[in-house]
């Protein structure tokens, strides 16, 4: 086993070693993959986030299949229509459980005790997800999508970003939908989870009458 004492570590200039040591300190495996949680985590409210992640996995899997076969397939064939529907309903479940997760974390004030970055990343994920859903609606290749595109063109021009995002440009909207936004959402969700593992699940808010509750209120 390599001696971990920095004073006798003869490889102190090695960046790989420095990164590995830092990761071992910040993210030991039993924190990254704990098999037990504090007692207060035993509530169904804590399940919403992981259900949203399960929905996201379905979205990505069905989306990959849709990309591979293309718009012709998902409108014309029965299997294509089914996979298209899987993708659509997985998106609905993703938003439902993401919003339930947001309600739970908001009322628990889960940004407490150094967890503000986790909360902020969650808000950013939500905003990017809205954009992803919007570009997905534009990519349907049907009259609905055409109507949305024409109306959104007015909206983006009014917001001043019409020069950068052309909702009538299918290639741009589709590319943003299948590549740029999914990369961002997946990367931010992974970071969100790692931050939760680093900090742990926030304790419930103490009742006002208790000693630690008075301390909490004075913060």
């Amino acid at each position: 086993m390599t001696d971990r004492n920095p004073a006798v570590d003869t490889e102190s200039g090695n960046w790989t070693l420095a990164i590995r040591r830092w990761l071992e300190r910040q993210l030991p495996l039993d924190s990254l993959l704990p098999h037990r949680m504090p007692y207060y985590v035993g509530s169904w409210v804590y399940v919403f986030g992981v259900v949203a992640i399960a929905a996201l996995i379905w979205i990505v899997a069905s989306g990959v299949v849709l990309v591979f076969f293309g718009p012709q397939w998902w409108h014309v064939s029965a299997v294509g229509h089914f996979v298209n529907s899987l993708h659509f309903w997985a998106v609905q479940l993703f938003f439902i459980f993401m919003v339930l997760h947001l309600w739970g974390q908001y009322f628990m004030a889960s940004w407490r005790d150094g967890r503000a970055p986790t909360w902020i990343i969650g808000v950013v994920i939500f905003a990017i997800s809205v954009g992803t859903a919007f570009t997905g609606y534009l990519s349907q290749q049907n009259f609905d999508a055409q109507w949305i595109a024409v109306n959104a063109k007015d909206a983006t021009n009014a917001a001043g970003i019409g020069a950068f995002f052309n909702v009538l440009n299918f290639g741009q909207m589709y590319g943003i939908h299948v590549m740029i936004f999914p990369i961002l959402v997946i990367a931010l969700v992974a970071l969100h989870i790692v931050l939760v593992r680093i900090r742990g699940v926030v304790k419930p808010i103490e009742p006002a009458g208790s000693a630690s509750g008075a301390e909490e209120a004075s913060k």
């Binding site: 039993d30 924190s31 704990p34 037990r36 169904w44 399940v47 739970g104 699940v201 304790k203």
Partner: protein, 53 residues
């Protein structure tokens, strides 16, 4: 299934019936999740519990 949705309006609020049903359903799920019993492990079991405050 192909007919346009019914809409409810009140002042500036205009919302479809399916949409309001989804929101009401989500509220019910949230409240049930707060109070529904959750299976806990037997007391005395030990092991890494992850970080917490």
């Amino acid at each position: 299934m192909d007919a346009p949705a019914q809409y409810l309006s009140w002042n500036f609020i205009l919302i479809s019936v399916p949409n309001i049903l989804v929101i009401l359903g989500m509220t019910v799920v949230f409240v049930v999740a707060l109070f529904a019993p959750f299976p806990h492990d037997e007391p005395g079991e030990k092991g890494p519990g992850g970080r917490h405050d």
